[in-house]
Structures are given as C-alpha cells and as structure tokens.
Symmetry: C2
Subunit: 194 residues, 2 copies
C-alpha cells in the first residue's frame, strides 16, 4: 500500500512537472490532486527536490523501456529502430497533450541554479545518446550510415535536435516540428538508398 501511494505520487508528478515545471508545482496542489495526506508525502520523500529527482527516475524507466523495446527489435534495420523509438516518444507526447519532454523542461528551468538537477538531466540525456550511439554503430556495420560517420556525435545531435523540436511542439501543441526534424536528420545522416 505504501508503495502504491509512492507510485501514485510519482506518476502524478510526471504529469504535473511536465505541465507546471518545478517551481510552480506546490506540494499542497499535488496532495490535493492525489488526495494523499502530507505526512505520507514526507514519509516517501525527503523534500520536493528528492521527489522531483525520483520522478525523473520514473520517467527514465519508461524511456529506457522504450529504448530497449524499439532498439532491441532486430527484425528492423538499425535506423528504422531509432526512428521508431522517436515515433513512440511522439505518441507519448500526444497522450500528454504535446507538453514536450520532461528532461528538456526541467533542464531549462533548473540548470541555471541547481547543480543537482543540471547533472541529473545531463546524465539522462547522455544515457539516451549512448543507447542511440550503439544502434548507430550497428547502422555503420550494415552500411546504413557511411563508414566515416561518428555515432557518438550523431547520437548527441539527434538528442539535442529532438529536444529543440520538443520545445516547439510544446509551444504549439503540435507534433509537426518533431517529424520535420526526424525527416531532415535521417535524410542528412543516412547513406542514400539505390
């Protein structure tokens, strides 16, 4: 039961932090929305910061599960797997009302003042880029990318450009910037098909 309460607070946190950001989210509002007593919150979390960091961990669990299932699907060629991962992400954004990416949101809001959040978000983006880079290495082996391509750099570029497109999606409540970015990126990076 304790675990269910914690899980509920964190799941709600993904949604509320995505919409409101960190500083605008009051713990009182969270407790009211979830109808969970204050004592329960402080039983599970040391502070609001501890809470938000654990919400990021929950968010990343879902990201890693998505990377695992999309990039691990070896029935598809590597670049298609990567594109599929981002299409799944776009679908998640849709169900959230196109609010963009929690990492981009908290990274922008907090990294000027909080070394803890700055490092946390940077670490998360770096992990995602690392997984993508592994798949891009495979794309080189399968001649989907030119042999001189730099998978680490290309993976980072993809993550960064995605974050920019996600911001625009958030501003417009529209997925088009995400799709346009992926189209441009894959057309530019890939070896042209015969």
């Amino acid at each position: 039961m304790a675990h269910a309460t914690k899980q509920q607070l964190m799941e709600h946190g993904v949604e509320m932090l995505l919409i409101r950001g960190y500083n605008d989210l009051g713990i009182a509002a969270l407790l009211e929305a979830t109808r969970i007593p204050k004592g329960s919150f402080y039983h599970h979390f040391r502070s609001k910061q501890d809470y938000a960091l654990q919400v990021i961990d929950l968010y990343m669990e879902e990201v890693h599960a998505g990377l695992e299932s999309c990039l691990g699907d070896t029935s598809r060629p590597p670049l298609e797997r990567i594109r599929y991962f981002f299409e799944v992400s776009e679908e998640n954004y849709r169900t959230q009302g196109y609010m963009g990416c929690l990492l981009g949101g908290l990274g922008q809001e907090l990294s000027g003042v909080s070394e803890v959040f700055r490092q946390k978000v940077e670490e998360c983006l770096d992990q995602i880029a690392g997984r993508l880079a592994d798949c891009l290495h495979e794309a080189i082996r399968r001649a989907e990318l030119p042999p001189e391509a730099n998978p680490e750099k290309l993976a980072e570029l993809l993550v960064n450009c995605w974050e920019g497109a996600a911001l625009r999606t958030r501003l417009r409540r529209d997925p088009a910037p995400l799709r346009d970015m992926l189209d441009f990126y894959f057309a530019a990076a890939a070896v042209p098909r015969e």
Copy 2:
C-alpha cells in the same frame, strides 16, 4: 532618469531570468541586486509578468539588431551570413556564462501554464525563423541551396535545432553542441561545393 531606471531593471532582468527562470526570480531579489526601490519597479511595470514580457522585448531588440547586421551584410554569401548570426549568438552566450537562450528557457518553463508566455515565445521564434527564411530564399537564388529547398521549413528547423543545442550548452556550460549542430545543418542543407 526614469527611463534609465527602467532600462537598468530590464537589463538586469535578462541576466536574472536567464539564470533563475521566471518563478524562481523574486522581485525583492531583483530590487536588492539593482538597489532600486519597490515603488520604482511598480511605476514602470504593472506586474512581474508585465516586467518579464518587456524583458523579452528587450532581448528581442538585440536579436533583431543581430539579424539586421549579420543577414544584412550582403558582402557575404547568404548561408555564411546565417552562420555568422549564430556565431554572434554563441559569443553572446559566452559572455553570459553559456546559460543558453532566454526564449527557450522561458518557453519551456512557462508555456504549460501561461497562454501569454506561450504565445509570446512562439511569436519571437517565428519572427527569427521568418528573417532566416528570407535569407535562405536568397541562398536558393544564388544556388547555395538546391532549388527545391523549402526556406520556411529549413529556417524553422534551424531555429528549433539551435534551441535544443542551446539547452545542451546550458546543461554543460560548453559551446560545442551549438557548433556541432551548425556543422551538421549546413553540411546537410547546402549544395556541395565543387
């Protein structure tokens, strides 16, 4: 004198909003940093929101001046002018400690809860993309871009990818993501030189 006070508050606001974001910036802290009395603040600004919107206008004045001087320099070829504009922006970021872009920061933080800021930031990014698109049209006429290129779409892509790279620059306090993005973009968009 009144105008000088207002200007001082706004210039300080660019710096403080860039570092702290909107919700974490207290008017009291701003007044303390500038040693300006509270009454003066409310003489010039109706509210914190009004203040931040006017700080964005000041920020955009500088952006437009940069666009004007870089894109208007017809002694350079069009794509070089665009690259130069972003190099000047990178140099501004450097002097600010690589805090990224105020539009991306406030757009991420506030567009989930504030229709006013959502529209304002979207409008600003759209204006920048519009100026870049004009220059990209010229790049087509000068055969720097293929004739089938879509300047409006390419300009928007550039703005969005830049914002993503600026977030990463903010997370790392490092300009490399900006440069990598520009290298990738121009190599992908431009007609290869003989």
